[in-house]
Amino acid sequence: MVEAEAFACFATPLPEPHLLVSPGANILAANPAAREAFALTENGPGEFTPPSLAALVEDSPDRLATFLRSCSRTNRMIPAGLSLKGGRNEGRYMCSGARMGGGTNGKVEGICILLRFRRHQEAVQTFQLLNRQIDRLSSELHHRRRIEAELRAQAQQLREYALELEVQRERAESASRAKSEFLGAMSHELRTPLNAIVGYVDLLDAEVSGPVNQRQREQLDRIRRGARHLVTFIVEILEFSRMDSGAERVNATEVDLRQVAQEALEMVEPAAAEAELEVRLTLPADPVEMVTDGPKVRQALLNLLSNGVKFTPGGGSVTLTLSMEEGEEDTPPRARFSVRDTGIGIAPAHDERIFEPFWQVGKAGRGHLGGLGLGLPVAREIARLLGGKIEMTSALGEGSSFTLTIPPLGSLEG
């Protein structure tokens, strides 16, 4: 039979059982998968044991007949669920059937029906597998969406923090600027009336407006000292404020440090003379040229020297020594300034406190020797700005030694 031959051609390699049956359920052809699944044997062409599909199914013959009748009417696919008995693959099958061909005369006898069998169990299993996988993936996607939402929320949070930080930073900078401007204005405003005081005192002392007796001269001197203290306060406060707000910039140039030391010493000489102290300077014979901020080094040295003068009783001395110190390994040599005094010394308990802004030795931390207590903090900050440090050794009653060490700038690591 032609249909059987054509069937054999296409259905043989297919993995699913396929049958060709008559509308009366006689098996006309079977592919190898069907023979194996349903334990069919072919005795001769088109002759099988068992010969009828009815023998294989458990469903009622009426049901089978109805199904085959539907199939015989159309070449569209008709689905049905059939239970097959016994054999190696017992169980329910999803069966799809449709009319295949017919005799040229269109008679019913020529109609045969193509049936494809799919194990229900397999279909269920693959369906369930698919279902599970979809389930799992959905679950994962849910999880992922949740995490994404959280991340978005956190990113938003971070953006808000960043904005807040920016606001705070601007506020802080603005406050710092305002403070600097205020102090700058204060300095200017204080210096103008001070100029009048200093000016008229000097004019009187110079006897421009007439002679001045000894007692008047002494009184003028007292006024002058008071004015000088005021000026020192203004200078120190301003300097400290600039350091504190980080407004100070380093201007690095090549300088001869011997000259810087000389200048600092000259600036402290008047105060030393007044306190009846000797100031000594020990410098190397050769120039000490180095790249650093000369004026700042001079300021730090002046602060150290002033402190030495302040805390040394009359008859004593303050010595400034400059030397070069070899660096370790590949670091260049550093400059070493040492300010040694024969003064009252510093108690070990005060070792760190002396570097605290405004702290001064004496009752309740208030200086009894004048000054604001900013000299050392400023000197230490300068040392830090220039990449160096200040060290101190002292003993009560034996004087103190402050050492400022600075490296050449442009050679700092990190």
């Binding site: 300095s187 200093v198 004019l203």
Partner: protein, 122 residues
């Protein structure tokens, strides 16, 4: 007799410097704003100008810039006497062409020393 042009708007400062300079023998011409300073400098060619910075209408920066730009007044030494003490101010003065920079408060005898140091005795 050498002539000093004193530019200072504060009464006390003006009086103090004028007295110490006249007492030393200099002739002093005192004005209170930058505009007058430029005009007098062009008219009278003083030997030295003492310039305050904080002045009404035209300040010391502007006045000195004009003086240094003008061929006829460029060579007159200008020394600042000011309560401005920030490093930026000193740098600005150097850039504009001030020959000297004195910080207030300053004893008038020191001002006299600075003047005589630059242009000699009256």
């Amino acid at each position: 007799m050498k002539c000093i042009l004193l530019v200072e708007d504060n009464f006390d400062s003006r009086e103090i410097y004028r007295q110490v300079l006249e007492h030393a023998g200099f002739r002093v011409c005192a004005v209170e704003c930058g505009g007058d300073a430029v005009r007098i400098a062009r008219e009278r060619h003083p030997d030295l100008i003492l310039m305050d910075i904080g002045l009404p209408r035209m300040d010391g920066w502007e006045a000195t810039t004009l003086l240094k730009a003008d061929e006829s007044t460029r060579s007159i030494p200008v020394v600042a006497i000011t309560a401005l003490t920030a490093p930026e101010d000193r740098r600005r003065a150097a850039t504009i062409g001030f020959e000297g920079y004195l910080e207030k408060p300053i004893a008038p005898r020191k001002v006299l020393l600075e003047v005589e140091g630059r242009i000699g005795k009256p």
